[in-house]
Amino acid sequence: MDPIIRIKNLTYTYPDGSRPALDGVSLDIMPGTFTAVLGSNGSGKSTLAKHMNAILLPSGGKVLVDGMDTIDEGNLLAIRRRVGMVFQNPDNQIVANVVEDDVAFAPENLGVEPAEIRRRVDAALEQVGMYQFRLHAPHLLSGGQKQRVAIAGVLAMDPEVLVLDEPTAMLDPRGRREVLRTVEELCRERGITVVLITHHMDEAARADRVLVMDAGRVALDGAPREIFPRADALRALRLTVPDTTALLLRLRAAGMPVPAGALTPEDCAAAIWEALR
């Protein structure tokens, strides 16, 4: 299978920047996978994300989306349609003051037939569980609900990839759970490729693959159960490890035979119980 996003030796320097924000990043994102991107503030995560739908164009290297080079202006709309992007502040991405009108914004821009727009809007709102709110005013919704509307607004483009830039940073735990559940469903049930940028280790633990960025480079890349046990490496990159991993590492250090890669509380408890018996 061909990668849906292929990044080759990408460098990028902001017009007013002295050092590159991205410094030789190469990676492939396979269709249908769930990738989490971690890294401290200023490590280049958002800059990387903005290259995936041609909001930023490489200073050096290449970004190919579904085989299309982002530098080629003729590909612009085709790429943006394929790679939907959701940002941190849900308030600042909702254009209209009725939910369904907002969701219709992207397909309207794309010149889709009215009947087809209606179908897509309804389907997108169903998928994020916001159909019953379709006639509401966005400013009266909770943060988690607004963010799900923003996701629906992107889904209405029928994208293949969903890139989310810290979508849960401004939400309370309930909103975070809602958004994360929605994103996981879209990936696991609808086969949409997900790239999730986050500061929350427990969110990253649910991905297929974790990328850790540092100073514009990919510092670590692997499955969560391989990455998280490397507590020292993560701490050096200004990150923490999930509590499950921290606990298992403590137990292992004391000689207890438990695997370090059990990431969910359930797996972790099961592994410890196994060792205790």
Partner: protein, 287 residues
């Protein structure tokens, strides 16, 4: 005498309209000097309404708020005094920065206190040092700072008023893990040094585990109030109002359900690890 004593506090928004909503109902709460109290609850549980009464930004519909035994709404002077004695750092405080320089912005509160220049200068420098803001940025525009630095400058602006009670609403929201940890350390150090009281509003259970006392709110009322041990032993009540347990307490619960004889009220990774190792040692496994 308690620093803050709230008796029968009720606050109703838009009273007399179809949008009428009681955000806080008949609430009693006492805060003592010293120590860190965590205030947890969902958005809409009434936390924000409650904290806006502590420095007299909102007037109670019913009930009283006493600061050192005196009603803060007694007079204009007492309201003003409460603004300075109770410092409130709202969510995303960096959006309140407005002065031309970082120094002037931190000095804004002390200036409103009508202090003399030397005292203002001392306070600005001290507050900046507490939050780890380098004096090199004093002459720069606050808008030029990085996100983390802006947050520190904004918090320093409140610390410089030298409040007796410091209220912080989600002070670490949006920071990266290392930034979160660093800011918390600094706030705890400030509390120690000034012997002030801190009320920390948070969703983050890892932060909650580090408080001396936890107050849990739901639907405008206090539903749990006690030490973290006590509060986290009420896992079912917390779950019923949609709050999560700290991850360690969660794992401990799962292990107990399987039959592990763990002591109650384990909620930190360290304590849980020790308890598990103690069990494992007893089991006769090689140490």
């Amino acid at each position: 005498m308690s620093l803050i004593e709230i008796r029968g506090l009720t606050h109703v928004y838009s009273q007399g309209t179809p949008f009428e909503k009681a955000a806080v109902r008949d609430l009693d709460l006492t805060l003592e000097r010293g120590g860190t109290v965590g205030l947890i609850g969902h958005t809409g549980s009434g936390k924000s309404t409650l904290i806006s009464h502590l420095n007299a930004l909102l007037k109670p519909t019913a009930g009283t708020v006493l600061l050192d035994g005196e009603d803060i709404f007694a007079s204009k002077a007492s309201i003003r005094a409460a603004r300075f004695r109770v410092g409130v750092v709202f969510q995303y405080p960096e959006y309140q920065l407005f002065e031309e320089t970082v120094y002037a912005d931190i000095a804004y509160g002390p200036k409103n206190l009508k202090l003399d220049t030397a005292e203002i200068d001392r306070r600005v420098r001290e507050a900046a040092a507490f939050v780890g803001l380098d004096e090199g940025v004093f002459d720069r525009s606050p808008l030029e700072l990085s996100g983390g630095q802006k947050r520190r400058a904004a918090i320093a602006g409140v610390l410089a008023m030298e409040p007796e009670l410091l209220v912080l609403d989600e002070p670490t929201a949006g920071l990266d893990p290392a930034g979160r940890e660093d800011l918390l350390e600094k706030l705890f150090a400030w509390r120690e040094a000034r012997d002030a009281a801190v009320l920390l509003v948070t969703h983050d259970m890892t932060i909650a585990t580090r408080c001396d006392r936890l107050v849990v709110m739901a639907e405008g009322r206090i539903v749990l109030d006690g030490t973290p041990e006590a509060v986290f032993s009420h896992g079912d009540e917390l779950a019923s109002i949609g709050l999560e347990l700290p991850e360690a307490a969660n794992i401990a619960r799962l292990l107990r359900d399987k039959g592990a004889a763990l002591p109650p009220s384990l909620y930190t990774v360290d304590a849980l690890a020790e308890a598990i190792l103690a069990l494992w040692g007893k089991g006769g496994a090689p140490c």
